[in-house]
Subunit: 171 residues, 4 copies
């Protein structure tokens, strides 16, 4: 293996726990909008995987990612975990947009169908997450990844548990 | 935000398409064993996310990952996409171990339950993938992520399409 | 337990294999329309569970069911299997509407979220299935169950394998 | 269609709400054992679909069903909803066996893979449900349907919400 075979990527991020703590004083929508606008740093996972939260609105979140060789699996295409990560994110954020200060969520399960392989020549893809229903304890969301030409790469659903945060959490 | 807040991680990998092509001349088990033994480089996704294929045997694959802050989501814990990536990998590899030269697979869907959050203090976790059934066209696998103390972090299933590779693929 | 406690339901149906065989000479849409219009008898499962195929169009199918006490689980509400059966049906039929003569399908997996319990006082509910994508080998569909007031009871997805029927099948 | 084409099945059951109410005074295991032993009548769904709760033990439930023509779908085999109903039942019951008096559960979602078609000549099949994990709010179970020869027909997972019943529920 020659030296020229080696590829390299530098990932940087900022203290995620501080950011998460700051988020506890905000509604989900305000928190995510602070990330979109740059007032709060994005979480490390977005730097690592290389995606960006583009827009949020009540019940809906959109992220963008440009697939690259660093995402490749042993079969020579983008690893399915990348689509899963992106969809998990937008579906969770879609639920998060509906939560007031003092309410939190955690994702219980995701289900992802891979419909078309992404490669380093795919170009930017967008993931859209939308709530299906947000109840008192359980929320369901759905998500899709498409490219600019409307081609569908993956589609999924998520189930979240929604709950009151402990009173001390926001301090 | 002071300079000391910034964290940094350098990821390096090797040409994944060359490796995938080399794999076409091998059975799934031989290919994955070549990656375990270092004769073939691991795919980029393993460098990016930071996991290692530890062992494979017919119908079974095991990977190890040490969760870190670089995997964190906006809620202050490891992003669900990391568990999904790991389980997608071991379940797909478990199916791959059963395929002779000339047969390929692609993952159609995964379903992941998140049972316990991983954090930067969790330590190493292992993902085990096992086949449930490999048919002529469809394969099903299941996977679990546990730590050394046997605590369960995530569990899932995958459905794969298995097929004959085009005759030109192995050249 | 007095005699008056006993409830009774009589289910009747017609030879399903003859009907399935007749279907092999028709496109999916023509076959399902023949069932909607009464030219072909509905399959036994619809008599047993008590649902009706109401409309089909390319990529879409709609069924109606009135939940009753005979559907009850040990918890005193309609068993989740009823929603699963209904959604499995409309999602499979939505895929079936897209298949020409000589093509068949089988459902590989379904995933159902239960969002609201159905009871004997719910009244008629409708299940709508729609295709997400129909490829050469794999199709994905989604479905929802709602009542006349638009309340959502269940939502799901299905993955189907689509294939050429053996040439002898249509004889 | 001649008169002899018509098939007929009579289904009888007993007041399910009375039984469900009786169950509120029992632990899940005692309630289900009362159904196994005949002290409480089975729920209507079991009469309608034709399955029997055979054994329960902590974290595990087993049911038996003999597939028949009355379960057939429009493709000439047992409808997938039957396997889904059976697996939903055994997975829910497996969770139920772990709950003391005063705790209840509801199934949030199920995911079923269909691995082999059941027909009227399959003979008796058994569905086994086992818990994967029962937490304070969320439980996960898995299930499989096999025949006497060990052939696998379907496999799935379920997610349940577990909770305290309202104090008035047991009265």
């Amino acid at each position: 293996m020659s030296a020229t075979d080696e590829r390299r990527r530098v990932v940087t991020w900022q203290d995620p726990v501080a950011t998460a703590r700051a988020g506890l004083a905000l509604s989900g929508l305000d928190y995510l909008n602070a990330v979109v606008g740059g007032a709060l740093p994005p979480p490390p996972i977005t730097a690592l995987v290389g995606f960006t939260l583009e827009t949020v609105e009540p019940g809906r979140a959109m992220m963008v990612l440009t697939p690259g060789e660093h995402h490749y699996n042993p079969l020579g295409a983008v690893h399915g975990g990348i689509a899963a990560t992106l969809l998990d994110s937008v579906m969770g954020c879609a639920v998060h947009t509906t939560l007031p200060v003092g309410r939190g969520y955690t994702t219980v399960e995701i289900k992802i169908n891979y419909l078309k392989a992404m490669t380093a020549t795919t170009g930017a893809v967008r993931a859209e997450g939308k709530i299906v229903q947000v109840g008192r304890q359980i929320a369901m969301a759905e998500g899709r990844i498409t490219d600019d030409a409307g081609r569908l790469y993956a589609a999924g659903t998520a189930t979240c548990l929604v709950f009151d945060l402990p009173p001390s959490a926001a301090r």
